[in-house]
C-alpha cells in the first residue's frame, strides 16, 4: 500500500479487499478457477502526475492465476506474471521502485526512456482444522530497468515476502485471523557512461524536497553505483465472513527499513528510509449491496549518515541525522448496489501529504477530495456473457503549499518542486469505460477479452486490452 502514488489506475473501487492474510484464499468469494491471460497496458500523460515514472509507459504482460479448492477446508492459490515494457520521458529519477525508495533516489536533470522487464511469483496454501485455520504464502518480484543511451541507469530489484497466518472461528458467521509477514527488499542502482564524452551529466543523490547529498553527487563511477538493502515486516488482524456475506474488516501495520549503500566505498551507508504503513478497513456485504470505509496512513522517516573523511579508505558513519519526514494519509468511503443486470458504485476519499526537511527548512503539503461514481451492465446474449462499465471521477484540491529555500536549492530543483506542487494540486475530472466479453470454448474452458480506456481533463490517457482463457 503506498499513498504516495495517488494513482489514476484505480479503475474499480477496492470494495472486496480481504486485507493481507495468507489464508485469504480460504475465505475468497471466488469460485475455483485457473486463468491465463495476455495483454497490453498503456499510459500517456501530457502533464505526468509523477514525472519520475515517465510521461508515457507501456507493457505487455502474461498473467497466470489459479485458485484450487481440493475440498471445503483447503485452498491453494498461485500467480505468475511476466511483463516487458518501457517508460518514456522519465525525469528526476535514475532509480527503480520510486514509490518504495522516495525520496532517496539518484537523479539527473535530463529526461530519458527506460526499458523494463519484470517477473512475479506468488503461492500459498491454507487449510482449516476444526475451528482453526492456518496459511502460508510466499511471493517474489524481480524487476530490471535500464537505459540504452548515456547516462545509462541499470537497476535490478529483488523483493521477497513470506506470510504466515492463523485464525479461529469466533461465531458461526465469522473467523478472526492474524497474519504476520517478513519482507526482504534489495535494489542495485548504477549509472554508467559508455561514452566518456557523455560523462558531463551529473547524477544527484536526492534527499528530499529539492535537497541532495552534495558530497557524492557528480560523475565519479564509485559514487554512481549504489544499492538498497531493506528488511521489513508487519501484522494484520482480519475478520472474514464465512458465508460470503456480512462484515469484512482489517487492521494492519507494516514497516520497511531500507538502507542505501555505496558498494564502491566499502559499503558505506549514506541514507536510510524507514517507512511505516497502517490501515483500518471495514466493509459490509449484503445480498445486493455493499458499503465500507478505510483509514490509511504512511509515515516516512529519512535519515542521512554523516560519513567521516575517508582518509583510511573506509568511510565510516559517525552518526545519523533525521532530516526528512513525510506523512501520507487517506480517509475513504465506498458503496455499491446491484439491481437486476445493473450494478452501481461510488466512492469518495480525502487524501493528502505533508513532507518536511529539517535544515535548511523545507515543507511540502497537498490535500484534496476525490470522488467517483459509475455503473456496470451485464447480460447474456446466446453463448456470450457481456459486461460494460463506465465511471466518472474527479479530484478537487483543498490545500497546497510549499516552502523551498531558493538560497540553498539549485534552480532546476526549484522548478521540479514547483511542478510537483502544481500538478499534485491540480483539479481534474475523468471518465473511464470498459467492456468484457466471455464465452465457452469447449467443455469448462472459457475465452474472454477485456478492454478499458480512461481519459481526463489533464489529457491523461490509460488503456488496456486483454485476451485469455479460464477454466
Amino acid at each position: 500500500m503506498n499513498l504516495l502514488l495517488i494513482t489514476i489506475l484505480s479503475i474499480t473501487a477496492a470494495a472486496d479487499s480481504l486485507g493481507g492474510s495468507a489464508s485469504e484464499a480460504l475465505f475468497s468469494r471466488r469460485k475455483p478457477f485457473t486463468s491465463v491471460e495476455a495483454g497490453w497496458r498503456g499510459r500517456s500523460e501530457a502533464a505526468p502526475l509523477f514525472p519520475e515514472e515517465g510521461r508515457a509507459a507501456g507493457k505487455g504482460l502474461v498473467d497466470i492465476r489459479t485458485l484450487v479448492r481440493p475440498d471445503s477446508t483447503r485452498a491453494v492459490a498461485g500467480r505468475v506474471e511476466y511483463a516487458n515494457g518501457f517508460k518514456h520521458g522519465v525525469q528526476w529519477n535514475s532509480s527503480s521502485d520510486y514509490s518504495v525508495v522516495y525520496p532517496y533516489v539518484m537523479a539527473d536533470t535530463l529526461s530519458g526512456n527506460v526499458r523494463k522487464e519484470s517477473y512475479a511469483f506468488s503461492g500459498g496454501y491454507s487449510f482449516m482444522r476444526g475451528e482453526w485455520n492456518f496459511g502460508l504464502r510466499g511471493s517474489y518480484r524481480a524487476l530490471h530497468e535500464w537505459r540504452e543511451v548515456d547516462p545509462r541507469p541499470r537497476n535490478i530489484v529483488s523483493d521477497l515476502r513470506a506470510d504466515f497466518s492463523v485464525g479461529r472461528r469466533i461465531s458461526p458467521y465469522y473467523t478472526l485471523d492474524a497474519n504476520v509477514y517478513y519482507r526482504r527488499y534489495a535494489q542495485s542502482n548504477s549509472v554508467a557512461y559508455f561514452n566518456p564524452r557523455g560523462a558531463n551529466t551529473a547524477q544527484f543523490h536526492l534527499t528530499g524536497l529539492g535537497s541532495y547529498f552534495y558530497r557524492f553527487s557528480g560523475t565519479i563511477s564509485s559514487y554512481l553505483s549504489t544499492r538498497y538493502s531493506g528488511n521489513g515486516g508487519g501484522i494484520a488482524i482480519n475478520l472474514f465472513p464465512l458465508r460470503g456475506k456480512g462484515w469484512k474488516a482489517c487492521a494492519e501495520y507494516g514497516f520497511l527499513d531500507n538502507v542505501h549503500h555505496f558498494p564502491g566505498l566499502n559499503e558505506a551507508p549514506y541514507t536510510e528510509l524507514v517507512t511505516h504503513d497502517a490501515a483500518i478497513t471495514g466493509s459490509f456485504f449484503g445480498r445486493k449491496w455493499s458499503a465500507g470505509g478505510s483509514l490509511r496512513a504512511q509515515l516516512r522517516n529519512g535519515y542521512e549518515h554523516v560519513l567521516d573523511n575517508g582518509i583510511a579508505g573506509a568511510y565510516n558513519s559517525l552518526m545519523m541525522l533525521n532530516m526528512y519526514s513525510g506523512v501520507f494519509y487517506e480517509a475513504a468511503l465506498h458503496g455499491g448496489l446491484s439491481a437486476g443486470r445493473w450494478h452501481f458504485g461510488g466512492e469518495a476519499s480525502y487524501r493528502g501529504a505533508f513532507e518536511q526537511y529539517t535544515y535548511p527548512g523545507r515543507m511540502f503539503s497537498v490535500s484534496g477530495v476525490r470522488a467517483a461514481a459509475g455503473a456496470a451492465y451485464a447480460l447474456k446474449a446466446g453463448a456470450w456473457t457481456l459486461e460494460a462499465h463506465a465511471k466518472a471521477s474527479g479530484f478537487i484540491p483543498t490545500s497546497a503549499s510549499a516552502v523551498i529555500p531558493a538560497k540553498y536549492t539549485l534552480e532546476a530543483f526549484q522548478e521540479h518542486q514547483k511542478y510537483r506542487l502544481e500538478r499534485l494540486s491540480a483539479a481534474f475530472a475523468g471518465i473511464d469505460a470498459g467492456i468484457m466479453a466471455e464465452r465457452p470454448l469447449w467443455k469448462s474452458v472459457y475465452g474472454f477479452t477485456r478492454a478499458g480506456f480512461y481519459y481526463d481533463t489533464l489529457n491523461s490517457v490509460i488503456y488496456s486490452i486483454t485476451i485469455g482463457i479460464k477454466l
Partner: protein
C-alpha cells in the same frame, strides 16, 4: 506488560540501523594559532572569495565565517564533516595588518568532524604577507 508494548512500539517506529542524533547543530568555538604565537586582535574573512570555505561536505552548505575577536569566533553549524580554509584580513595585537591563511583542512580527506553539541576547533594559520 503495557510498558513493554509501548517500548516495542516506539522501537519499531524509530527502527533504523544506527544511532540517530537528536540534536542537529553543533556550537563551534574556533581559535586561531599563529606560527610565532602572536595574538590576532581581529580578523574578517570575505565570503565571496571561492577559496574561503566552511563547507559541510555532505550538504554542500558553505557557512560564512563570523568576525574574529582576540583570535576567537563562534558559530553554529549542522553536525557533519567540514572542509575548512580561508585567507583572512587580520589586525595583529601589535597593530600590524597581515593576511592569514588556513589550509590544513582544505582537502576533504583532512576534513574535520563536528559531531558533538559543542566543539573546539583550533586552526593553524600562516602569514601570507
Amino acid at each position: 506488560m503495557r510498558k513493554l508494548a509501548i517500548g516495542l512500539l516506539l522501537t519499531l517506529l524509530s527502527a533504523c540501523s544506527g544511532k540517530v542524533e537528536p540534536e542537529l547543530f553543533s556550537s563551534v568555538e574556533i581559535a586561531l594559532s599563529t606560527p610565532d604565537g602572536m595574538g590576532v586582535k581581529s580578523m574578517s574573512i570575505d565570503p565571496s572569495l571561492p577559496g574561503n570555505k566552511f563547507l559541510n561536505l555532505n550538504t554542500g552548505i558553505n557557512y560564512p565565517f563570523p568576525e574574529f575577536k582576540d583570535g576567537k569566533a563562534s558559530m553554529k553549524v549542522q553536525k557533519g564533516v567540514y572542509s575548512v580554509a580561508f585567507d583572512g584580513k587580520a589586525v595583529m595585537e601589535d597593530g600590524s595588518s597581515r593576511t592569514l591563511r588556513s589550509y590544513a583542512h582544505s582537502d576533504p580527506v583532512k576534513a574535520v568532524n563536528l559531531v558533538s553539541g559543542t566543539e573546539t576547533l583550533v586552526l593553524d594559520v600562516i602569514y601570507l604577507f
